[in-house]
Structure formats: C-alpha cells, structure tokens
Amino acid sequence: MRISKGALLVVVAFLVPFVVEFRTALSWFGIKLSILESLALGGVLVIGLLLWAVWPEDGNGGTGAAGSS
C-alpha cells in the first residue's frame, strides 16, 4: 500500500466533488457529460486510484509515513 486506508478513503471521497465540479466546469466550455458518462469517469478514476494505491511502491521501499494504519 502506498497510502493508508484512511487516506485512500478520503481521496476516493474527494473524487466526488472533483467529478461533480469538473462536469460543471466542462459545461462552461460547451462539453456536456451525461450522468452516465460522469459515473463512468468516476468509476475509472476510482479503479485507477485503487490500482495505484495497492501497487507495490518501486524504488526505495519504505512503508511510507502512514503505512502502518
């Protein structure tokens, strides 16, 4: 784990406002995501994030600051 479970939960939670506001911001430029597309985008981001989080850290292998919890 590259990041503690608690921090991972919070980052996933952060994706919600990110996707919601990103959708609002895109529409200012005329790009309109449907609800399904937004959900898909969110899903992809969450999966990507989870993969990143559980992938073993390469290079110098400390457990990281919060790896213990």
Partner: protein, 78 residues
C-alpha cells in the same frame, strides 16, 4: 535514517499522544517553514481570483438586463 539536525526523535510524555505512534520528530517555530501550506493557499488564491472574475464578468454582467442608475451613481463613502 533521519539526517537533518533539527529532527529530534522523541517520545511525547503526554498521555494524549499515546494514540500517535508515528510521531517521529519535533519541529519548533524557528525551523519550520510551512511550504506546503503556502502552496495550497496559493492554489486557493488562484481559484478565488479566477472564479471571481468568471462570476462577476461572465455570470453576473452577462445576466442582463440589470438595474442601472438613471444617472451614474458615484459611490464614494467609506
């Protein structure tokens, strides 16, 4: 393992800190530069300025008709 001189490895004596097993060093006021805070708050500042410009000049002034003065009202108090 920790190289910089001001990183002191200590155990906090206070009971409240018992839940914080990963307290690895103590930083005083002089040796601590909140650079991360400066970066975050800088980003916040930029967001505020950009959104303000967007809200005032695009959303608000673009939302006409707007209440206007018969003659130009000059606000000069305070």
């Amino acid at each position: 393992m920790v190289s910089r001189p001001y990183y002191l490895l200590i155990r906090m004596s206070s009971g409240t800190e018992q839940r914080e097993p990963d307290h690895v060093r103590t930083l005083g006021h002089e040796e601590y530069d909140p650079i991360g805070t400066a970066i975050l708050i800088g980003i916040y500042f930029l967001i505020l300025v950009l959104l303000w410009i967007f809200m005032y000049f695009v959303e608000f002034l673009g939302n006409g008709p707007t209440v206007v003065g018969m003659a130009l009202t000059v606000v000069g108090l305070a």
